[in-house]
């Protein structure tokens, strides 16, 4: 019964948060709703005994990632609220809704068609969740873990390349630069 409650709450958090993300016109509000949604998902993690992940979800996701979002939103101006009633692309929204609705129906149908599991856990985990996860990460997924480092390096280098303020002469025209170059 307890799980039911967590489930309903978590789902409500997650889905309402998601709705908020797509419906609130102000990006800052959207970001906050994203936090709510992520928190809801974290609750669902907890409900499924993924405690470590729930923690990471809150700390990394809601903590770091959304902060990053907010930071950028602030950087480029909070006042840029979007009028979500305006849709410049003709037919985009109805089509999107149609496609999404169809997709949802399909996905639900696909899941619903499966055997009923009855909520029984066939196996239980040994040890603490963190231990379990770490054992997995450092055994089966050791290589994956190693290469996440590459991913992060790429992200950092990429961010540097993209966000680095260009040297002043970059505002010159191309030809000027080339002519002026030694």
């Amino acid at each position: 019964m307890g799980e039911w409650i967590v489930l309903v709450l978590g789902a409500a958090f997650a889905l309402l948060g998601g709705l908020g993300v797509i419906l609130l016109r102000h990006p800052v509000h959207a970001a906050l709703m994203l936090v709510q949604s992520l928190f809801g998902v974290a609750m669902l993690f907890v409900a499924q005994q993924a405690h470590f992940l729930a923690a990471v979800q809150v700390i990394v996701y809601a903590g770091a990632v959304v902060v990053l979002f907010l930071f950028v939103i602030m950087l480029i101006g909070v006042d840029r609220a979007e009028d979500i009633r305006v849709e410049p692309l003709k037919g985009q929204r109805p089509l999107a809704l149609f496609v999404a609705a169809l997709g949802l129906v399909e996905l639900i149908a696909i899941v619903a068609m499966q055997n009923d599991f009855g909520g029984v856990l066939p196996k239980t985990f040994e040890g603490t969740n963190v231990e379990q996860v770490s054992a997995m990460v450092f055994s089966d997924y050791l290589y994956a873990f190693e290469i996440t480092s590459i991913l992060l390096v790429v992200a950092v280098v990429g961010a540097v390349v993209l966000a680095r303020r260009a040297p002043r002469h970059i505002d010159q025209t191309v030809d000027q630069q080339i002519d002026g170059a030694p």
Binding site: L89, Q92, L95, A96, V99, L102, G103, E106, I110, M113
Partner: protein
């Protein structure tokens, strides 16, 4: 001597090659004499071969001489080989004989022409082709000659290609002949298909032992006859011959009177064994086509003003006689008339040429008159030719025409008697229009004299000296006169070849019998005499009529005798033009512009356009808006998920 038969065509071929390569350097008149010598030499060899053949007895008078394999694929085995037999050697003799004379004549006639040597190049090639036509022992070699003479005819008719009319006439001759050739080819194929052979002997051997069904034989015979109609200018393919008169006169004499046009007759005689197997209706067809052509052309001839056109229609008419004879199974009579006709018609053409030459290329008989005063020899020889064609005894034409009429009278084909009457009528008309021509040209007033200058102002063609000052008619040089005299002699005496008085005097018929078969006349002597008298009477009536009308009264009074319908030759040319040429052109336009240009090209280019069109529309999806792209991805995903559901359900 027979072994040397290949030298007969080889000499003109050699002449052709030499003239082709160095003719221009040899120049005038040497190239002309050279060509004449080649043809003459070939005539001499022919005489030798003839003598050899005569010295053999009947069975051995057919000799095949193989030179090399020509076209040989599987059963199709065509050799370059000559069949020396009475028919072929007879043809060879008169082709080379008359050919030599006309070569000589041409040396004079073509004097001063800038393409003098070229003319003789063509003439020699023509002689070679004609010899291949008659000497070949198989249909294909005959076809080689057949097409070769056609090509030479084309080249020679359009010899003066600067004139559009000459160029057109040459083309017309070739194309019309091709229609006939089509028939000839089909005929050949039918025979080959039925017999597996293309040699005469091979085909006839199968035909002789019943190897060809009647239907095949009939079809083959009719198709071959189509070919003959084309070459020999019979209805309905005769239209090219009158136009062919655009060629130099020696060409008209040689090709379009004496030799080439008789090829059709030769062909029908040659394939006699096949005709025998065929349904008799074939003979009826041949006889009627021949008879009708004879009459038809004769009626046109009465209203023509061009001296050569009159002769041209006359030629068509006379060729009609020959086919009439073949239709009546009288091959020897046809051959007889073919030879005598070659004599007198060549004579008349050459005479006409002489007149034209003397008149500085004036051809309208209405603008002539009293030429006998200026060109006595030409006049004298022309007279002989006239009497011969008019059927006045004892000139050669009388004998041969009489035999044809006799065969028609006795003939067994449907409507033979009618054809006999047609023949008589034609004889009358022939006498009439030839007399008209003679009277207009040689008698009466000198209508050509220009009132102020006292001479002729050349109206067209080249005057030899390029000087347009008035000139007067003159007799031709000896090179032209000599052949006239020789041919006049032959026209006078040609009948000797085949006199009907006794079997032994029917030399030609007996000579040709191994090749073309025999034909016994049933009529008794008295019937023959009566018939001959009727024919002669027709001739005399014709001459008399012409005398009354054309010498006895002013020309203007005779306008009604030349109705426009006849002058326009019944309008057949324009009929053909509107029935065949114009729709043909329309069809060609339709094919090229509409069908090819629009339909097929439309499909081809259309497929390109469709690609562009589709591309243009699909391209609009690529709107540049990232959310549209995402939508596309989403839609694709949803579609694939639907596939997943459907496939799982299935």
């Amino acid at each position: 001597m027979i072994d040397l038969v290949w030298l007969i065509p080889a000499l003109p071929l050699f002449g052709f090659c030499v003239l082709l390569l160095v003719g221009k350097r040899i120049g005038e008149p040497l190239s002309g004499y050279f060509a004449t010598a080649m043809t003459g030499g070939s005539f001499l060899f022919a005489l030798g071969v003839f003598a050899d053949l005569v010295s053999r007895n009947g069975e051995k008078r057919s000799v095949t001489k193989v030179l090399f394999d020509w076209i040989s694929v599987g059963q199709l085995d065509v050799k370059a080989s000559a069949l020396v037999d009475p028919l072929s050697i007879t043809m060879v003799l008169f082709v080379t004989g008359i050919g030599t004379l006309i070569h000589l004549y041409a040396v004079g006639y073509m004097h001063g022409d800038p393409r003098f040597s070229q003319f003789f190049t063509y003439l020699n090639l023509f002689i070679f082709s004609m010899l291949m036509l008659v000497l070949g022992d198989n249909f294909v070699l005959m076809f080689l000659g057949w097409e070769g003479v056609g090509a030479c005819s084309y080249l020679l008719i359009s010899f003066w290609f600067e004139k559009d009319s000459a160029a057109t006439a040459g083309k017309k001759a070739f194309v019309t002949n091709r229609v006939g050739d089509f028939g000839l080819m089909i005929g050949m194929f039918l025979l080959f298909n039925a017999t597996g052979a293309l040699t005469y002997n091979g085909v006839f051997a199968v035909a002789g032992n019943g190897g060809i069904t009647r239907n095949t034989a009939t079809a083959a015979a009719l198709m071959l006859f189509v070919g003959a109609c084309g070459k020999s200018a019979q209805l309905p393919l005769y239209v090219w011959l009158p136009d062919a008169m655009e060629g130099p006169t020696p060409v008209s004499a040689l090709i379009h009177a004496a030799t080439m046009v008789t090829a059709g007759v030769y062909l029908m005689m040659r394939v006699a064994p096949v005709l025998e197997v065929a349904d008799p209706v074939v003979f009826t067809v041949i006889a009627w086509v021949g008879g009708l052509t004879a009459l038809f052309a004769a009626t046109i001839a009465v209203a023509q003003d061009d001296i050569k056109r009159i002769l041209a229609y006359s030629t068509i008419s006379q060729l009609g006689y020959m086919f009439l004879a073949i239709g009546m199974h009288a091959n020897a009579a046809a051959a007889f008339h073919m030879i005598t006709h070659a004599f007198f018609k060549a004579l008349m053409f050459l005479g006409a040429g002489s007149v034209i030459h003397g008149m500085h290329h004036e051809q309208n008989v209405k603008l002539m008159g009293n030429i006998r005063k200026w060109m006595p020899i030409t006049f004298a020889t022309y007279l002989l030719g006239w009497l011969a064609i008019a059927g006045i005894p004892p000139f050669s034409g009388f004998w041969s025409k009489d035999e044809i009429l006799l065969s028609a009278y006795e003939g067994s084909v449907g409507g033979a008697k009618v054809l006999w009457v047609v023949g008589l009528l034609t004889a009358l008309l022939t006498a009439y229009y030839m007399s008209r021509q003679v009277f207009l040209v040689f008698f009466g007033k000198e209508r050509f004299l220009h009132s102020t200058t006292g001479g002729i102002v050349p109206i067209h063609g080249d005057s030899h000296d390029g000087n347009h000052a008035p000139v007067t008619p003159h007799e031709s040089p000896w090179q032209m006169v000599l052949p006239l005299v020789v041919l006049a002699g032959l026209s006078l005496t040609g009948g000797v070849m085949n006199l009907p008085f006794s079997k032994s005097l029917e030399r030609l018929a007996r000579w040709l019998e191994p090749s073309v078969g025999s034909h016994e006349f049933a009529s008794t002597g008295s019937t023959k005499v009566v018939l001959a008298l009727i024919a002669v009477a027709c001739g005399i009536v014709g001459i008399g009529l012409a005398y009354r009308l054309w010498l006895g009264r002013p020309l203007e009074a005779n306008a009604s005798l030349e109705p426009p319908l006849l002058q326009r030759a019944y309008g057949v040319d324009s009929l053909y033009s509107s029935v065949i040429e114009k729709p043909g052109r329309k069809l060609a336009d339709l094919v090229a512009d509409v069908f090819d240009g629009k339909l097929i090209e439309g499909v081809v280019n259309g497929s390109g356009s469709i690609v562009k069109l589709v591309g243009g529309n699909v391209r609009k999806l690529q709107s540049g808006f990232v959310r549209n792209y995402a939508l596309m991805i989403a839609a694709g995903t949803v579609a694939l998920l639907a596939y997943a559901l459907l496939r799982a359900a299935a």
